[in-house]
């Protein structure tokens, strides 16, 4: 899927029109371990590129979720709040985190494609 981009904070982002769906990568879930708590940004709130946009917690620790682009939250995925384990089982599809009406498509330019991210993830975990 060539239209999916990735951030250095291990988020993925998929653009459809001017709405982007954002979640965390499979690699991120493997590093975090069992996810047991998810907090998402509220619908209607604005988030800034590289700013905080939620929290995931594993049995071990809490980690911030960042948004790779700026925009207004138009939807969040309550299903993963009610069952955080879904993030481990299907992080890059069903267990998306939130959808943004994005402000500036140019912000996507600095993100990585799949090959670049896979390489980055491999290097950063060594």
């Amino acid at each position: 899927m060539s239209d999916v981009k990735y951030s250095k904070e291990h988020e993925w982002i998929k653009l459809e029109g001017d709405v982007a769906t954002i979640g965390i990568t499979q690699h991120a879930t493997e590093m975090l371990g069992d996810i047991v708590f998810v907090e998402l940004p509220e619908v209607g709130s604005s988030v800034e590129k590289d700013g905080n946009a939620g929290v995931v917690e594993s049995t071990k620790a809490a980690s911030d979720v960042y948004t790779p682009v700026s925009g207004e939250v138009v939807e969040n995925n309550q299903a993963i709040v009610d069952d955080p384990g879904k993030v481990n089982s299907d992080p890059e599809n069903d267990a998306w985190f939130f959808k943004l009406k994005i402000k500036d498509k140019a912000e996507l330019d600095s993100l990585m494609n799949k090959d670049e991210y896979d390489k980055f993830a491999k290097e950063s975990s060594n």
Binding site: G33, D34, V36, F37, V55, E57, S58, T59, K60, A61, A62, V81, P84, G85
Partner: protein, 367 residues
């Protein structure tokens, strides 16, 4: 300082352990399946925990040793049966806790299992307090594993016949591949199980045999969620030198007779606290939603006054929700008292609850 490794380090690697440094040792925090699966496997089947980093202290002596140890530990050692164990504490004169430990009376002395981070200091304190009168050995030629869970007795009995006859909090000498091994029926997960002390040279063989029989290696991560669900204290979190057993709500571990004797280290403070009460006490805390309140989370009452602090908090896989313990002003320590936990700047409702969070299934001799 060099980081130490246990005898089972290579075996941990073989099973894809992720390691962390713990008390100067490189220890497995989890294996491939992760904390939640490991936790559930222990509750439903049988988990193997490498606890070789803990101290195995032998003190050799006769009745005089027991007499002297009673001046240190608030337990009725003289009347304790041989091969039986008691949970206790090493305290200072103000009843502050240096360490929590298990004392087992054996023929010719005692074995004391100490926390890894405390064992060297404990040794020095005990040697000094006992005036160097007794032979003491912090045995690092033996490894220690715990096996825990409902299948433990069946699995271990097949390898070491006779262990099934042990009652909870007692032990005995057995033999494995020609080596003497001291096994106690005990553990720290809220499950039935055993702790096995065995020569370093034999421990990998035993562990492999246990795995062949269906047991699995479990990391420190699940050990923590298991003990927290069982409402058990962890030194450095619920217990430290600034807390007493009475504040820690562990009065049950202090012998009534010994309180009357008033002749152990810290007894004066213990007696005062029993009679006059304490300001803060350890409690169980159940958040209302899914919010996880971790160590150092501040606790507020309904009037928004700071009344306590969380000492351990995580997600309990068997409870399927968040669990925590902490210290709170006595006034707010009653079961079902509503409190608020401050997490990332927001306050979340929770209730004081009884412990354990998860009902134990100890067998035989449980009191």
């Amino acid at each position: 300082m060099n980081i130490k490794k246990t005898q089972l380090h290579q075996l941990h690697q073989k099973y894809n352990a992720k390691f962390v440094e713990f008390a100067g040792y490189e220890m497995p925090i989890q294996y491939k399946e992760g904390i939640v699966e490991e936790h559930k496997f222990t509750r439903n089947h049988c988990g193997i925990f490498d606890v070789s980093h803990m101290g195995q202290l032998y003190i050799y002596g006769d009745d005089q040793l027991l007499e002297d140890l009673e001046k240190i530990f608030p337990i009725d050692l003289k009347n304790l049966k041989v091969n039986h164990s008691k949970y206790s504490f090493l305290m200072n004169a103000d009843a502050g806790i240096h360490d929590d430990l298990i004392v087992t009376k054996i023929e010719g002395g005692v074995i004391i299992i100490l926390n890894a981070a405390c064992k060297d200091t404990d040794f020095e304190i005990l040697q000094k307090t006992l005036g160097g009168k007794y032979k003491m050995l912090l045995d690092d030629e033996k490894s220690l594993i715990a096996i825990q869970g409902p299948q433990s007795s069946k699995i271990l009995e097949e390898l070491i016949p006779g262990v099934n006859d042990l009652s909870f909090m007692s032990g005995n000498w057995f033999e494995f591949l020609g080596s003497k091994t001291f096994i106690t029926r005990s553990g720290y997960t809220g499950e039935d199980g055993f702790e096995i002390s065995l020569d370093n040279s034999k421990i990998e063989q035993l562990t492999n045999n246990l795995i062949e029989k269906g047991a699995k290696l479990i990391g420190l991560g699940a050990r923590d969620t298991l003990r927290l669900e069982a409402g058990l204290c962890l030194y450095g979190h619920e217990l430290d030198i600034n807390k007493t057993p009475i504040e820690a709500n562990l009065k049950w571990a202090i012998s009534k007779k010994r309180i009357e004797d008033k002749n152990f280290l810290g007894s004066e403070k213990i007696l005062t606290q029993i009679n006059e009460g304490v300001q803060n006490i350890r409690v169980g805390i159940k958040p209302e939603g899914r919010i996880i309140a971790r160590e150092k989370t501040k606790i507020f009452n309904e009037e928004d006054s700071l009344v306590g602090e969380v000492t351990s908090g995580t997600f309990g896989p068997s409870v399927n929700g968040p669990v925590a313990m902490g210290y709170i002003n006595k006034e707010f320590s009653k079961k079902d008292t509503k409190i608020f936990l401050e997490v990332r700047g927001k306050k979340y409702p929770a209730n004081i609850c009884g412990l354990p969070f998860y009902k134990k299934s100890y067998v035989k001799g449980v009191n």
